[in-house]
Amino acid sequence: MKLRFDAVSKSFGDNHVLREISIDIAAGEVVTFIGASGSGKSTLLRCVNLLETIDAGSIALDGDVITKVGVDPNPVRRRVGMVFQSYNLFPHMSVARNVTLALTEVLGIDSVEAMDRARTLLERFGLLDKIDRYPDQLSGGQQQRVAIARAMALNPEVLLLDEITSALDPELVGEVLDVVRELKGSGITMLFATHEMSFAEEISDRVCYLDSGLIAEMGPPHQIFTEPANERTQQFLSRVLKGQRRD
């Protein structure tokens, strides 16, 4: 098992955001998390790279529990990349430096080699001509692709994608999703929180519907999207799919 959630619970005050979530995710699997706003998708992803600390239960990466007190979070974060809804690029650094920062500072790779790696990654995502630009000089779609390149620079085993297209204009969503498609081909394990239902259906090995901190339903995409067993899943899907028929 690449990633194992075992009865993970998390509250903010008396708001129980995650309630005993258990999921096993295999290496190379793509699991999509859907659910209403506030259902706990972001919190779940943030727990995996230890941006949030959980209250109970455990998360294990390759069998090692990473949520114990005293575990150094930095080696875990090297293995788990994250891409955020609002890109969060470093605005004072060029595209190249955004990508090489972790390589030189975290892995201690020399800057020439780091630059080579950055070039390879940016080329892969169609951004080589933007290498000397600054984030504010790029479109949202370009910024988000740079953010993916930055997260991929450390060659993570797991990639967390938190609504990475939600801040984008509709015509820019496609270019970012293309990158995710390409990543799936490379065999990385992905946890993907999204409102893009048709893409979720296409890309996921499994879809997980979260409802107020509980896994209401989980299964292969065709099952969730065509014959959901849970009534709340049905209601949720009919609500979002009505709003999302754009094709």
């Binding site: 790279n49 941006l51 969060n88 470093f90 605005p91 972790a102 500072e105 600054y134 000089q137 997260a151």
Partner: protein, 238 residues
């Protein structure tokens, strides 16, 4: 009603200005020197205090308390009082030359008080960097010290350059307060000349000399800021 010719004679006496100007300039060298040696001290101390105040580890609680107490106490008392207290007081406790110099301790007093003001500027800058920047840096495996150094502080400094320059311009002027405990810098020299000639023109001369430093300093920061915006910014809204 004051008469213009009286004003002119008493404040803008050209001959007197020409006569005292070289002495004022000579004395101003000391102001510049105090400014030059206190500035790096202030910037470094202030940054350390600001970082101390922004630490998050529970075990560093005493460090935060120290930083808060320091800024509160230094800023809560007029600068001039610290200059008297430290600049007169410390040499008076029986130190040997050269350690008993009021110039030295006056500079220290100025440096310590300004560190507190500038620390608050840096703190505002550090807190003004959005939490998501920290999340992004930490998610890449950067330690909290690396995050501070590469991500938070560079952005914080860019944000606070205008208020920081404001404090530096104030410092450039407050250097003159050290004259009150002895050293003959420009303000004191102007006072001597004023007493000698019973005329205020030397003070006007001193004011002109201050302006000749502070205005270019301010324009220069504006220039640096706009150049930085040009380099990293997107297109600007008209």
């Amino acid at each position: 009603m004051p008469r213009w010719d009286r004003v002119k004679a008493s404040f803008f006496d050209g001959e007197l200005l020409a006569d005292s100007f070289p002495r004022l300039l000579d004395a101003f060298v000391l102001d510049v020197m105090i400014f030059v040696w206190t500035t790096p001290f202030i910037l470094i101390t202030a940054m350390l205090i600001a970082i101390a105040r922004n630490t998050r580890a529970p075990s560093l609680f005493p460090v935060r308390i120290f930083a808060i107490a320091y800024t509160d106490i230094m800023r809560g008392v007029p600068v001039i009082l610290w200059i008297y207290l430290i600049g007169f007081g410390v040499p008076g406790i029986g130190l040997e030359r050269p350690w008993n110099s009021p110039l030295l301790w006056g500079s220290v007093a100025l440096g310590l008080t300004y560190s507190a003001y500038v620390a608050e500027v840096f703190r505002a800058g550090i807190e003004g960097v959005h939490e998501s920047q920290r999340a992004a840096a930490r998610s890449l495996g950067l330690s909290s010290a690396q995050t501070m150094r590469h991500v938070i502080i560079p952005q914080a400094i860019r944000k606070v350059l205008p208020p920081l320059m404001n404090d530096m311009v104030s410092l450039q002027k407050d250097v003159a307060l050290v004259s009150l405990i002895g050293p003959i810098e420009i303000l004191r020299q102007a006072g001597i000349d004023k007493a000698k000639f019973a005329n205020f023109t030397p003070f006007v001369g001193a004011a002109l000399i201050f302006l000749s430093i502070t205005i270019p300093l301010t324009r220069f920061t504006d220039y640096l800021l706009s150049r930085e915006r040009e380099r990293t910014g997107g297109s600007r809204v008209r």
